[in-house]
């Protein structure tokens, strides 16, 4: 990982500034909190967070206290990107040009109920960063399926496993032709940090999605959050890339896969998670087929690129 300044970025280089205070309300082992800690290290103090209904609204802890140390506007589930347009417009008029509106939303609030507001804000060119921390389900309400829930996964509204494939939100966002789209995950903090920094320095709508493996939702041991995140990339279940003005570049381990590194067998990832426990061999075959198809497609693009 090479920083903007050309140096190799390491964990020790990440700032010690902390905007998430100790004693918040997240579950032990929460990926959303890890992601947000790193994100705010990159974005810094002059950030206004806009948070729709999701775990991150709860994580803040109870009024009259909050664990978030940047100004934070909680907003209705479906309205975060619209609210960001409002914040951005107000900042512009009040001449606070160095303050950045940042949406911090779950996958439910992004893929499903918040998609329209997101699409609207992208189309009208709102100057903000939209971040979706994707734990592939509605965790705040107790593990229901979302548009991001992968095929086959158990949730409390897909008892026998989800029958549909997940929506590809980052692709949908890309089809809006905005300046910056990127994917990340918590296991690679330098990558996440760099992408945030890069986004911060651009203008217009920017979108970053962070895979966030959630122990209670995915049913795995709370100490394995980071491991699960890493394995998602290594098995190809999650892909790291960024798209700058339409130019797609794979990053990190995902890039290495495209350069020839073997993808770890997806079973390794599936088996660690209770939500996939019910899968029959043929289901796993189907998942593999889908994954291969997806990577075939990436390979084509990648091949086309370099």
């Amino acid at each position: 990982m090479v920083s903007n300044r050309g140096e190799i970025m390491a964990i020790k280089d990440l700032p010690t500034d902390e905007y998430i205070l100790k004693g918040h309300a997240a579950c032990p082992g929460c990926p959303a909190t890890i992601a947000l800690r790193i994100t705010l290290k990159a974005l810094g103090k002059k950030t206004i967070l806009i948070v729709p209904a999701c775990c991150s609204a709860v994580i803040q802890a109870l009024h009259p206290h909050t664990a978030f140390n940047v100004p934070t506007l909680n907003i209705a589930f479906e309205a975060s990107a619209a609210a960001a347009s409002g914040v951005a417009a107000a900042l512009k008029m009040l001449e606070k040009k160095d303050v950045l509106p940042v949406v911090w939303a779950g996958d439910g609030g992004s893929y499903d109920i918040g998609l329209q507001a997101l699409s609207g804000a992208l189309e009208r060119g709102t100057d903000f960063i939209y971040i979706c921390y994707n734990n592939q389900m509605y965790s705040n309400t107790g593990i229901q399926r979302s548009g991001a829930t992968p095929y086959g996964a158990w949730t409390t509204t897909t008892w026998t496993g989800k029958k549909e494939r997940q929506k590809e939100l980052a692709e949908i966002v890309m089809a809006h032709h905005i300046p910056y789209v990127a994917t990340a995950t918590i296991a690679y903090p330098e990558d996440l940090y760099e992408k945030m920094k890069k986004a911060k320095e651009m203008k217009g709508p920017r979108y970053i999605e962070i895979l966030s493996p959630c122990p209670p939702g995915w049913r795995f041991d709370m100490s394995k959050t980071v491991e699960m995140s890493k394995l998602a990339v290594e098995t190809g279940a999650w892909v790291l890339y960024e798209v700058i003005n339409g130019e797609l570049k794979f990053t990190g381990y995902s890039k290495r896969i495209l350069e020839g590194k073997e993808r770890k067998p997806i079973e390794e990832w599936l088996k660690m998670q209770g939500r996939f426990r019910h899968l029959k061999p043929e289901d796993i075959e189907e998942i593999k087929r889908q994954l291969d198809e997806k990577w075939e497609h990436y390979k084509k693009i990648y091949g086309g690129k370099e």
């Binding site: 020790k12 205070l21 918040h24």
Partner: protein
Amino acid sequence: MKTAISIPTEGAMGKTGTWRVFHPVIDLDKCIKCWRCWIFCPDAAISRNEHPVIDYDYCKGCGICSNVCPVNAIEMRREEK
């Protein structure tokens, strides 16, 4: 005028260290100061001093630090109460 305004506070949810069932113990002799435990702690309970220091008032005992430590310098021990 009263509305739902909240003030940034350490321990907004109280001393969340009480949620813990296991607690992490760092073997400083092993530690190579890679700071992985620090960056990955969801509770920001590890600080970057000379060496990593755990704030047991707030560590929820998830065990991530132990899991990510490249040199197995962190052991999770059952809480004694």
